[in-house]
Amino acid sequence: MTVKPKRLSLEDAIALVKDGDQVFTGGWTVVRRPMGLVYEIVRQKRRGLYLCANPGGPEVDLLIGAGCARVGEINYIGHEVFGHPYCFRRAVENKASPDYLHDDWTVQTGALRILAGSMGVPFLPSLSLKGSDIILPERDPLKELRGDDPKLPKQKVAVIKDPFWEGQEVVLVPALRPDVCLIHAQEVGEKGTVYIRGGTFLDYHAALASKLVIVSAERIVPEAELRSRPEANAIPGFTVDVIVELPFGAHPTALYGYYDNDPWWFRDYLEASKKEEEFRFWLNDWLLDCGGHAGYLKKLGNTRLEHLRSDPEKGYNAEIRRRLDKLEEVSEI
């Protein structure tokens, strides 16, 4: 009933995220992730977050590597063909008592969990997961927390028989109701209407499922600009709490019509994240020492950012090369 949304600075927006919050990050693997918002979480040193991206990309690997995450209920964490999620790996490999607890899901059931949250129902049924190790109770990495931790369902799944038709066994998956939803979009209206081109992924559902919705965008625009084609807008404004204008807020991930993936970033991050010590160095160098989003963009430099620009119609940059093993330096291009 309050008039929404508030327009805030990046710093003030992320100040609303609390230690221990359950956080959903919009986008998909290396596409349209809310990187600028996540960077600021790292700068503000949030701890004990529960992550539930569906699936996770560099933003999740980074949050795990920077020590911000305690739990992940996630189906996939990775950088697609760019390379492996080394921070995630390091956090769980060979660890009897990891600081970060990883609970595996699938794209479909993760999506249904967010959908359940958006619908206000405690669960939804699925025909997936039957036959997989993913749902075996003995494999459940969060078993010992369940029942005590109010952010986690009392059990991972339930299996019931359909009472209406053929008596088929159906898996019920619990709702996800994140404390915070972070989204980056091409444009957001002053009243919160979110305009997304390319895939909208689960951002709409997550916004409805979450208690606090923070949307950063390349541009904040007058609402009237967004009222010619209602079906082109992805998220109704009344579910958006905070808007932040943040150009290149999805960098290094791709934003349809604005910029493509930054292969140099992935090359450097992947190289650095292979080892704990080098990752710390990268973190200081790129996030902590350069003073906020403006400093980050300055460090990237205009030449590099301009090289990433996408064709507004095609959505991508047809010139950019994507093989990290054959990458030329920006200066050489």
Partner: protein
């Protein structure tokens, strides 16, 4: 010496398994390369789906993930994982699921989660993504994977994506796929050495063909397979045609993103 690589042969062998008009739900990497090769070639009416929400994708440039703008361009409709995985896939509208993986066993069960124990893994992978869903819910699945002894294993370290012998809930006993109430199942495995299918009765993997033109032998397949594999029905696989190689190299993956030229 053949004038094409194992990766190319594998991509081409995968493409040949698709039929025109099929609805194909495809993961990134080699499955995508194979599918787009087929789409550029003998299956122009295949409908290519990707789990992030893409429908009838027909990219002008190779997407390098299932959410890439290259896959969106000029599609006639777009959805989310709710529609793709919660509706199309679950509602049995997907003819073929095309998957990769880190390990496969002789019943076509796939592991894309970890090596070693799940609680304390020696090596952790990215995770299921949509693979588990697709393996359970597609009308059939094709698996594409490098042929190595530590990948073709007797028992997967973690059963991410169910094949023909699957986990019973909640006790984890291995039971036949049908007994768990699942339709579909693995149809073929395309590897760096050849093409495997599954016996219709025992549902065990057997060798159907091998890349004889590249010097692969049935013995090589056996040596690189961590379980007993029937090779009695195996035949040499036709080498790539010039047209297939041309499409792959000039239309599908000219940058060599996946083919690593």
């Amino acid at each position: 010496m053949s004038n094409y690589s194992r990766l190319e042969m594998m991509a081409i062998a995968g493409a040949r398994l698709l039929a025109n008009g099929e609805v194909v739900l495809v993961g990134t990497g080699l499955p995508l390369v194979s599918t787009l090769l087929a789409k550029h070639g003998h299956t122009p009416d295949a409908i290519v789906l990707m789990e992030s929400g893409l429908y009838d994708s027909n990219p002008q440039a190779l997407p390098f993930c299932v959410a890439d703008a290259r896959g969106v361009y000029q599609t006639p409709w777009i959805g989310t994982a709710v529609e793709l995985m919660g509706q199309f896939l679950q509602n049995q509208m997907v003819d073929v699921g095309f998957l990769g993986g880190a390990q496969v066993d002789r019943f076509g069960n796939i592991n894309s989660t970890c090596i070693g124990s799940y609680a304390e893994p020696n090596k952790r992978f990215e995770g299921s993504g949509g693979a588990c869903d697709i393996a359970i819910l597609a009308k059939k699945t094709i698996i594409i994977i490098a042929h190595e002894r530590q990948r073709f294993v007797d028992k997967v370290d973690f059963l991410t994506s169910p094949g023909w012998k699957v986990r019973r809930y909640p006790d984890g006993k291995l039971i036949p796929r049908e007994e768990a109430g699942l339709w579909g199942g693995p149809y073929a495995v395309v590897s760096t050495l050849g093409l495997m299918k599954f016996d219709p009765v025992s549902h065990e993997m057997y060798l159907e063909g091998y890349y004889a033109d590249m010097g692969v032998t049935v013995e090589a397949v056996r040596e690189n397979t961590g379980f007993y594999i029937d090779v009695s029905k195996a035949r040499p696989i036709e080498p790539p045609t010039r047209h297939e190689l041309h499409l792959l190299r000039t239309e599908v993956d000219p940058e060599g993103i996946f083919m690593k030229y």
